[in-house]
Symmetry: C2
């Protein structure tokens, strides 16, 4: 069981979600395809279990955070930890979008984040919305992060900066009257860092949250 999950995670790390295949997994484990079905009911459960497995690592990382007297600062640190984990393993983003079993480590992570809102002066509903909003920022930014890279970039044939520059070049060439915004921020897009983009979005909602909590 444990060997199945670690092998599945290894496949995901190497080739992303499409690389996780029952046949590939069986080959790596040196067994037959049918054996895997004795441990998991199907592909969904396999994916869920494998993902929950690494969410466990994220959870321990989150729990190991020092913590401070500022709940929002702690909230920020947790979100950053989660985001960094997704940057390392982009296929993780797909997990949060099919959270059928809101159980296990995913629930515990949700608890860790939501617990910070208990330290803020908010109504229960506001707490619920705050925790969801923070998670939403992570997922929302991570979503167009893992998927934006076509195969040629993953293969290392094309540099990421070159890839962005190609788009920026197209944007710069657009009609400035019809696309005042896009032409204006083409340069920003060219060299942009996904992590900075995430932090900016996160800090916006946290600023709003701080305002709401009156802290």
């Amino acid at each position: 069981m444990e060997a199945v999950l670690t092998a599945a995670v290894a496949l995901l790390d190497e080739g992303g979600k499409p690389a996780l295949t029952f046949r590939a997994l069986a080959t790596r484990l040196g067994t037959g395809v049918g054996s895997i079905y004795w441990y998991v009911a199907g592909k969904d459960e396999l994916f869920d279990r494998a993902t929950d497995h690494v969410i466990g690592e994220v959870l321990t990382a989150v729990r190991a955070l020092p913590g401070s007297d500022d709940p929002i600062a702690d909230l920020r640190a947790m979100a950053v930890t989660l985001f960094d984990a997704i940057m390392d393993r982009p296929w993780l983003a797909a997990y949060f979008m099919r959270n059928t079993d809101v159980q296990g480590n995913s629930l515990r992570l949700y608890e860790e984040i939501g617990r910070q809102t208990l330290r803020l002066d908010l109504t229960p509903r506001q707490r619920f919305h705050a925790a969801s909003a923070v998670l939403g920022v992570v997922v929302g930014t991570a979503a167009d992060l893992g998927m934006e890279l076509p195969q040629e970039v993953l293969d290392g044939q094309v540099d990421r900066d070159q890839f962005l520059e190609r788009f920026a070049e197209t944007w710069r060439g657009l009609d400035a009257a019809e696309f005042p915004f896009v032409t204006a921020i083409a340069d920003e897009f060219a060299g942009h860092d996904d992590r900075d983009q995430f932090l900016a979005a996160l800090d916006l909602t946290l600023a709003g949250l701080r305002l709401q909590a009156g802290a």
Copy 2:
């Protein structure tokens, strides 16, 4: 070509992303599978074109918005319009997560949103991040919206509220010492409205944005 796209959208509306199949599409069009390949290079392009097709409708809806003297209010209205469109067609969420061709209507929609940031007192980078953050909130919330419903709910066998209540019941039964947050907001989760959740998250980032812009 046009018929192919409208049929593809119809299939997506009826059964979501897994329902969009070359064979199903060919059957609906009364042709062969190979014919579709004369119009599109593959499944990815088919999905992109079909999605961009409906994004066009969202774009006209966004452009039809009245507009006000408050850029942030306009930003909010646009985000809500986009979110509502995704609520109607949950499979749309998957589109924004694989925006390979940042061209077409998607780009125009991005322009429409970003243009509002030009009316705010921000640096170019802040404008770029603001537009991305707003889109991120929409995508982030919409993501765990379309996917959270298992098949039994889509089939109408189980009511959505019953489905949520089932989770809430589990959460209420957890140890309050170990899960102080989850047990506290179980009631909120039970009857929660996805749209309210989205609006709360959106308003948080917009409040932060308003703070940043000093408006």
